[in-house]
Amino acid sequence: MITTMTMAKALNEGLRRAMELDPKVLLMGEDIGKLGGVFRITDGLQKDFGQDRVIDTPLAESAIVGTAVGLAIRGYRAVCEMQFDGFVFPAFDQIVSQVAKLHKRSDGVYTMGLVIRLPFQGGIGAIEHHSESPEAYFAHTPGLRVVSCSTPNDAYWMIQQAIRSDDPIIFCEPKSRYWEKGEVDLDNPPRGLYDAVVRREGTDVTVVGYGSSVKTMLRAAETAAAEGTSLEVIDLRGVAPIDFATLTASLNKTGRLIAVQEAPRTASIGSEIVAELTERCFYSMRAPGVRVAGYHVPYPPARIEEEYRPSVERILDAVDRVMDFEG
């Protein structure tokens, strides 16, 4: 069955389905029960699955993740909601020191099949600490996996795939897209959890990003097309590991690369994409890979956040640079 819904609703339905299929799946977080979460992603789930499976926790992120680890040891699959990206940092120690390492430290006896849901990126006019893009911290950490959805259909399926995975997954949800609608195919999962997907085919420049950037890249591609440049837009989906096969195929065709992200540029996903693809496609490249990223400043007040986030303008500016490149 194909039906239309928002990404928020798709996540809600995906969580519901996962809970129906596996009684070991639990949800944990601040205000996720009665309130249904500040974004209502868990709306109605406590009513239907009870307080023991949809757990309104005390306000302490280290404890949310730290107890999820214990629950994983006991055979449960906890899906932890961080209320906002900026509030994952109190849990950073548990994530890096325990979540990422316990499968190894137990010689494979424990599986850390837990998911940390992270409403991330900006664009909703929020006050500070509510618009961060911390994915690079997690991608850099061996033992973790990171994914991001950009459509309701992916949201519905990827959250279920993430919950089924025996590895710990940081699940990044582009909060500015929560209320956008799209078709969801309730019967057929689209593809593997880490597979990148070409959202628009093109021949001149490979433009790759994830989460909220996907829509911005598609808009840029439209304008660029009107101006005579053909962009191939790739939605990364798997942020760690990255599906380099799909990217390589595209870059070998276009010879030009732009990596887009809201996170700051230094030591980021964009750095990784450019560095790795340059190694893989050196002789195909007609210009160096270029990154369009958040500036190297604390996330600014929301009134000027659109100047901070990669915009259509900034992507097109990068397109000009790679198209006109002379060295």
Binding site: E30, D31, G33, K34, L35, G36, V38, D56, T57, P58, L59, A60, S62, A63, G86, F87, F89, P90, G125, A126, I127, E128, H129, H130, T223, A224, E227, R265, T266, Y295, H296, V297, P298, P300, P301, A302, R303, I304, E307, Y308, V312, E313, R314, L316, D317
Partner: protein, 355 residues
């Protein structure tokens, strides 16, 4: 609300009660002036809520119901003391002299701070629950090293009381005997989370286990909040170390303008607390004991209206910041990525709409 452990100097009806340890030291003039503060900060909250509804603020965190706690605590401070607020201490900011429109800069999303924290001796708002409590203890360690006769007052909520940072701050304050007062406004809720999720026993009891006193005060009782805070600050300045104050109060409004409290609490509860309104309580006292005339209240109400009008004007006058300002003060010293970003943005703005 009969609770032996609760310090109260005024009943909800505005009648005085005595307490073995605390006596009210405020005269009628002072009480009237604090009444005025309460009325004004409530008006500030109402106006800000409308401003948010009208799209002029990105968000607002109202504090109606907590005026007794905040004006009580705020007026107990000495000028040289330093305060570390959350995002909801508008009453404290008022007492510290922060220009009220500056308090709204964060919520208008034109700033991530809002005022000069050194000038007003009032730290910028901290949104990450609990962080500021450790910062406050550190500041108090500095006060100690300076041998200064100052105290530090830091705020957090019942929800934040579960954060490791707050609890580590208790350990440190006790270990170093720092001149810090922990002021926890237990307004009964995190967002939707009731305070019973954070603790099965009254929060103030925690302090004792860390080696310093905890006091529970009726947070809707201005007089009690004032005296309890004043005593704790004096004790801190005198080298007596930390105190934790739990101001037992109630958030009459929503958590923020994004919140829908009907999802998690019943009207009847809100009604009960309306009868404990901290402002009405003081008004009753002023009428009964100091024969304050309606005209005096009327004058304050008018002042509050004028205040609100000016606040509105000031807020509407706050323009969009220059996007280039994001590069200012990211670092103290020069940084190549700042230079580069500034250059890039300037060029983009100059090219503006090339596509």
């Amino acid at each position: 609300m009969i609770d032996e452990e609760l310090v109260q100097l005024l009943t909800p009806e505005g009648e005085r009660v005595t307490h073995p340890e605390y006596a009210s030291t405020l005269n009628g003039e002072q009480i009237l002036s604090m009444y005025r503060d309460m009325v004004i900060v409530r008006r500030l909250c109402n106006e800000s809520t409308s401003l948010q509804r009208q799209g002029q603020l990105a968000l607002w965190a109202p504090m109606q119901g907590q005026e007794g706690a905040q004006i009580g605590a705020g007026r107990a401070l000495q000028p040289m003391d330093f305060t570390f607020p959350t995002y909801r201490e508008h009453g404290i900011a008022w007492c510290r002299g922060v220009p009220p429109e500056n308090v709204l800069r964060l919520f208008r999303a034109v700033s991530t701070g809002g005022w000069d924290p050194q000038k007003y001796r009032h730290h910028v708002p901290t949104i990450v629950l609990g962080n500021q409590v450790l910062n406050a203890v550190g500041y108090a360690m500095g006060v100690q090293r300076d041998g200064a006769n100052e105290a530090v007052l830091t705020f957090f909520g019942d929800g934040a009381s579960s954060q490791g940072d707050v609890l580590e701050a208790f350990v440190w304050a006790s270990s170093f005997n720092t001149p810090v007062v922990f002021f926890c406004q237990n307004n009964q809720f995190g967002i939707s989370t009731p305070s019973s999720t954070q603790s099965k026993v009254p929060l103030f009891r925690r302090a004792r286990g860390f080696g310093f006193p905890g006091v529970r005060v009726d947070g809707n009782d201005l007089l009690a909040c004032y005296e309890v805070t004043k005593a704790a600050l004096e004790n801190a300045r005198a080298g007596g170390g930390p105190t934790m104050i739990e101001a037992y109060t109630y958030r009459m409004g929503a958590h923020t303008t994004s919140d829908d409290p009907t999802r998690y609490r019943v009207d009847a509860e809100v009604e009960v607390w309306k009868h404990r309104d901290p402002i009405e309580r003081i008004k009753a006292l002023l009428v009964r004991e100091y024969q304050t005339r309606p005209a005096a209240f009327e004058a304050i109400a008018q002042e509050a209206e004028a205040f609100a009008l000016k606040l509105r004007d000031d807020v509407l006058a706050m323009g969009r910041p220059d996007p280039l300002s994001m590069f200012e003060n990211a670092y103290s010293e020069t940084h190549p990525l700042i230079e580069e970003g500034r250059r890039e943005m300037t060029e983009l703005m100059a090219a503006g709409g090339a596509h």
